[in-house]
């Protein structure tokens, strides 16, 4: 009851699912308890440094921090390789608690070197603890969960920063300011308990425990390779990670330049340690209040609504405008405003989006990359920024001119940053795709790729005809020769001597020698000459004249014995020229009551491709025995009969099965015209053939990606399928609620599967087919994480208006939540 109420309250501000409340809240507080003390520590760090050392030496501090961070990263990565992340976090917190206490003692002694060492320590503090926080987040939650909860976690961090800042600002004025470090220390102790609680919950959650365990095992195996160099190599050999590193590098260079500008101005305008601590406290809190609300209320929404690319651009573009503003009018207000914007967006939107960029990276690689990028690159960037700033130290320029120059340098870096953001957003989608493996291949494509159906059929027919008729056998052999398929293996196969396969009727000539035909064929056969000879012989008027009488007699023969002769005739006609007089007999043979005769006749019709056979072939689609061969024959006619087939497809008076078969044949012909006819039929919206039409279009898309589909028709149909899905789901839910687990429920379930498949097939027509296909497969049969990655891929591939209607179907939701989303969808889009 209490839990339900708690969940309801939380769900108002964040999209949280049942069971996630406690863990999400723990992470919220975990981040809070890192950033709140950091805000205190940072204010003391900056105030002490400016007061005791001076802003002129800030670039040197930036630079030395960068060098020191290299060692810290190396050491931290080694620890991470040996210790489970949850435990390492606790050890790290304890380390910082103890050292924090040590600094409190040292500050009492007023030694001048202490602020310098404290500066470095504070930077190590934030780098280590924030990195560990995100590593733990990535360990515990899957990508979709992170995407949903990132705003909530981030706001915990920002709230901590605001709280710590305000507390610092408030207490700095009083005598108890010396105890600020002890307050930070207390918060860190609380943080230890929160992390302990997270670890304990994780131990209970079996799948995640095993996940961590598996990774832990992996880590142990790779312990030797998880040093700084290994982390560096991991980033170096991956294009995506290199881009990510470059983005982070440039982000922090810009941030360093902006930091320098603001601190120089502050140093000029303020004096006194307490004043500085108070100013930094309030400043740090003030610049975080805006991002807190931005993070809590807008970040997730912005990311969900506008995607990664848009959100990657917001931060640099605002800083670009700010930098140009400072370059034009370098007043204190502008310097403060740009610093405030830098802080605000850096802690909210930019942090969240950057964390999302890590989603498609596998855990092991992410581990190493994160260590390198988040812990080293950003400090290194500060070092690079510091080097740029050091150029200005020896120049005897006024503070205003310095700030103007630095602003212009910032603007240049920001242009590069925008360019890199564009590149990485493109690469992000590609990386998500790589993450999703195709679960299965299309059966039709697999068969087409792996099996030459016509050839296989021919070999079987050849073997089968051996017993039946020497003429048929010879014709099949000739077919094999014609197709250059009479390989030694096939020869061996078809000349296999057994009681069943003994050649018995090749005439006395062959019988006398007890020979199989194949070795005879082997005797000096010039295949080209043979082909030419047979073609020419059958074209001879005299041949047509000689055979005419025989054909007429054979076609008219209704006896059982006549069946084989008719098969021979049907096959022989396929060898003739399309204008030979004898081919007129083929129509009768197609319609012959014997399925075998009809089959041979249909094969020949497919070879001759004369229009007059089409009606007879289409009629054969009615017959369950002949429909497959008739379909195969019609398919071989190709584009020239697409219009005729479309007439049958659109004819409501024709049998439904025949129309379905016609749709399938059009798909196999697969031309643009065939796709257009199928789409027009789909647009008719008769509903009776929808699944077959969608399947046919999907088949064309799969085989010929360059075919264009009429987007408005496909979109409209997708919307209708979504509506059908939603309505069926609601009926299914109601039937389940009533406890009806009967036939109706099963039918609903089956329909839902079909509708969902139809939706994906339709999407595949207007979006990258391979991506949609992979996403569908992973949603259909994948694990929870596969589904999450699949949805992530769709998130990056689909347009927003489509996402709004598709996501309720594909996202991992409870039945109730899905029902609610469907109901709102149907209300929001009554016309779909």
């Amino acid at each position: 009851m209490v839990k339900n109420r708690f969940q309801k309250i939380l769900s108002v501000i964040v999209e949280i699912k049942p069971g996630e409340e406690i863990l999400a809240l723990l992470f919220f507080f975990y981040f809070f308890l890192i950033t709140a003390p950091y805000s205190i520590i940072k204010s003391i760090r900056d105030a002490r440094y400016l007061e005791d050392v001076g802003s002129i030496w800030l670039p040197l501090a930036y630079f030395l921090t960068a060098i020191l961070m290299g060692f810290v990263v190396a050491f931290h990565s080694k620890l991470l390789a040996k210790i489970q992340s949850g435990i390492l976090v606790i050890f790290s917190l304890i380390f910082f608690i103890l050292t924090c206490f040590l600094f409190w003692v040292l500050f009492l002694e007023r030694w001048t070197w202490v602020p310098v060492v404290f500066y470095f320590w504070a930077n190590i503090f934030v780098a280590v603890l924030v990195t560990q926080f995100w590593i733990l987040v990535n360990d515990v939650f899957n990508p979709r969960e992170v995407k949903r909860l990132i705003g909530f976690f981030g706001s915990g961090g920002i709230l901590g920063g605001v709280f710590g800042g305000l507390l610092t600002g408030f207490l700095a004025k009083f005598k108890i300011s010396e105890f600020l470090l002890l307050i930070a220390l207390g918060m860190l102790i609380a943080g230890v308990f929160v992390v302990y609680a997270i670890n304990s919950r994780q131990m209970k959650k079996a799948p995640l425990v095993s996940q961590i365990k598996i990774r832990g095992q992996g880590k142990q195996e790779e312990t030797s390779g998880l040093g700084f160099k290994d982390c560096f190599d991991t980033v170096k050999k991956d294009y995506y990670l290199k881009l990510l590193a470059a983005v982070v590098l440039i982000t922090w260079i810009v941030s360093t330049l902006i930091d320098w500008q603001s601190k120089n101005v502050i140093d000029q305008r303020m004096s006194g340690l307490k004043n500085l601590i108070a100013f930094f406290g309030y400043f740090n809190a003030g610049v975080l209040i805006l991002p807190f609300f931005l993070q809590l209320l807008m970040t997730s929404g912005l990311i969900k609504r506008y995607g990664i690319r848009f959100n990657l651009m917001v931060y640099p573009i605002i800083l670009l405008l700010g930098s140009l503003g400072v370059a034009i009018a370098p007043i204190l207000l502008f310097a403060i405003v740009i610093k405030a914007n830098d802080k605000s967006l850096s802690f909210s939107l930019n942090q969240s989006v950057r964390e999302l960029l890590y989603i498609p990276i596998s855990p092991d690689v992410k581990y190493k990359a994160k260590i390198f990028i988040d812990m080293f690159i950003n400090r290194f960037a500060k070092g690079v920024g510091a080097l740029f700033l050091m150029i200005f130290i020896p120049l005897r320029l006024g503070i205003q001119l310095r700030i103007q120059l630095v602003s212009l340098v910032s603007a240049l870096f920001i242009f590069g940053w925008i360019f890199l953001n564009l590149k990485i957003s493109r690469e992000y989608t590609n990386t998500v795709k790589q993450k999703l493996e195709a679960k299965w291949n299309r059966a039709d494509r697999l068969v087409a790729e792996k099996v030459d159906v016509d050839y296989t059929k021919l070999v079987f027919d050849t073997i089968e005809s051996k017993e039946r008729s020497s003429v048929l056998y010879a014709m099949h052999l000739f077919d094999l020769i014609k197709e250059d398929k009479l390989t030694p293996e096939v020869k061996k196969l078809i000349s296999y001597k057994s009681d069943e396969l003994r050649v018995s009727s090749l005439g006395a000539l062959f019988e006398a020698e007890e020979a199989t035909l194949v070795p005879e064929v082997d005797v000096s056969l010039d295949e080209e000459v043979l082909k030419k000879e047979i073609k020419e012989i059958m074209s001879l008027d005299v041949y047509q004249e000689v055979m005419e009488g025989y054909f007429e007699k054979a076609v008219a023969d209704r006896s059982k014995e006549g069946e084989v002769t008719k098969m021979e005739l049907a096959k022989a006609i396929g060898l003739m020229e399309p204008h030979s007089p004898l081919i007129q007999k083929l129509e009768d043979l197609i319609q012959d009551e014997s399925p075998e005769v009809s089959r041979y006749a249909m094969e020949s019709a497919a070879k001759l491709r004369r229009r007059e056979y089409v009606p007879a072939l289409i009629q054969k689609l009615h017959s369950p025995v002949a429909e497959e061969d008739a379909g195969a024959a019609l398919e071989k006619f190709g584009p020239k009969i697409v219009g005729t087939l479309a007439d049958y497809l659109g004819d409501k008076d024709e049998e439904m099965e025949l129309r379905k078969e016609v749709a399938s044949i059009l798909a196999r012909i697969g031309t643009q015209e065939a796709a257009d006819f199928l789409t027009w039929e789909l647009a008719e919206d008769r509903g009776d053939l929808d699944t077959e039409l969608i399947d046919a279009l999907d088949g064309i898309r799969s085989k010929t990606p360059e075919i264009q589909f009429q987007e408005p028709v496909i979109k409209a149909k997708t919307a209708k399928e979504v509506k059908r899905y939603c309505e069926t789901f609601i009926r299914f839910y109601e039937s389940q609620k009533k406890g009806e687990k009967d036939k109706a429920g099963r039918i609903f379930e089956k329909d839902l599967i079909v509708f969902r498949l139809n939706i994906f097939k339709l999407l595949g027509l207007i979006y990258p087919h391979e991506d949609i296909f992979r996403a569908y497969q992973n949603i259909r049969t994948g694990t929870k994480d596969s589904v999450a990655y699949a949805v992530e891929l769709l998130d990056n591939v689909l347009k927003r208006e489509i996402k709004d209607v598709i996501f309720p179907i594909v996202e991992d939701l409870s039945l109730e939540e899905r029902l609610r989303r469907f109901q709102s969808l149907l209300e929001a889009f009554p016309d779909i």
Binding site: L506, V523, K532, E533, I534, E536, I537, L540, Y543, M547
Partner: protein
């Protein structure tokens, strides 16, 4: 191509030698020669291919034309000793169903007498 003719009882035997091909047409073609015999009342025709090394579609045309001429006059037409390759061609083209093809001259003659 060389064609020698001989008669055994009522059967005219055409012993063909060499290659029957379009590019090697002699003054008198096989069909013309068969017709000449048909015109003088011979009705039993036997083509002996024992010494034929090659035959092209033109040659097959000659055989078929000879068959038609003989058949139209109510005569009998047989072929003996054709190569395995030609037999395969005849099978593929279904000519084995129409033409009377036998292994050797003796069997052919036997056939003529029996019929």
């Amino acid at each position: 191509m060389v064609i020698n003719t001989r008669e055994k009882n009522d059967v005219v035997i055409f012993d063909i030698e060499g290659e029957i091909r379009r590019s090697d047409i002699t003054d008198v073609t096989l069909h013309q020669l068969v017709k000449e015999y048909l015109e003088v009342g011979k009705r039993n025709i036997l083509l002996n291919f024992e010494r034929v090394q090659f035959i092209d579609s033109f040659g097959v045309g000659e055989i078929l034309a000879s068959y038609i001429s003989t058949h139209n006059l109510g005569g009998k037409f047989k072929i003996a000793k054709i190569s395995k390759k030609l037999y395969l061609i005849f099978q593929v083209t279904m000519l084995t169903k129409v033409l009377d093809i036998v292994d050797n001259e003796e069997l052919a003659l036997e056939g003529f007498y029996k019929e």
